[in-house]
Symmetry: C2
Subunit: 103 residues, 2 copies
């Protein structure tokens, strides 16, 4: 796992929609319906479901998920046609720790 870049992370977090996505992904079962036989917790939520809740286009949603991924805040898994995104809890705690001790 590559070291986190605080600036990149803070930029990723500087946007309402991306913050919203992260909050939804914190408890996928509470915010998204089940999708096939896929474990929401282990694998994540697909782009279409996130697009449906966000009030934005598929294009924007996909790009925002990429930003979150480049910042290391989420992880993507492709299964068939779908790409599932889930949070990287470890990275999120690392950021909290960075602010708490190093900032």
């Amino acid at each position: 796992m590559k070291p986190i870049d605080p600036i990149e992370v803070f930029k990723a977090l500087s946007n309402e929609a991306r913050l919203q996505i992260l909050e939804w992904l914190k408890d996928p079962k509470a915010h998204f319906g089940p999708q096939g036989g896929v474990d929401l917790i282990e694998i994540g939520v697909c782009v279409s479901q996130i697009t449906a809740k966000l009030n934005m286009t598929q294009s924007t949603t996909s790009q925002y998920l990429s930003v979150l991924q480049r910042a290391g805040l989420v992880h993507a898994t492709r299964l068939g046609k779908w790409t599932y995104y889930r949070r990287d809890e470890e990275a999120i705690q690392e950021i909290a720790s960075y602010i708490q001790h190093d900032l």
Copy 2:
């Protein structure tokens, strides 16, 4: 103390120079010379000293300090001609806590 706005805070932190200022202010004695009879720890560091270390103009430094202040990350005290800035440690811990528990 008004509640923190995470987006505003993250925007404030999304900039190398502003992050740098916050890090310097974490340990003012290590980064700034003494200024008159003012307690660096209690009162803070004046804009000129920060400007001198940043490689930017006084105008930019002043604006960046305002951004940090609006985000609640620093506190300003005017004494005579000088304005001294110090970190708001409580706000910084609040942000760490927000990421750790609520994000």
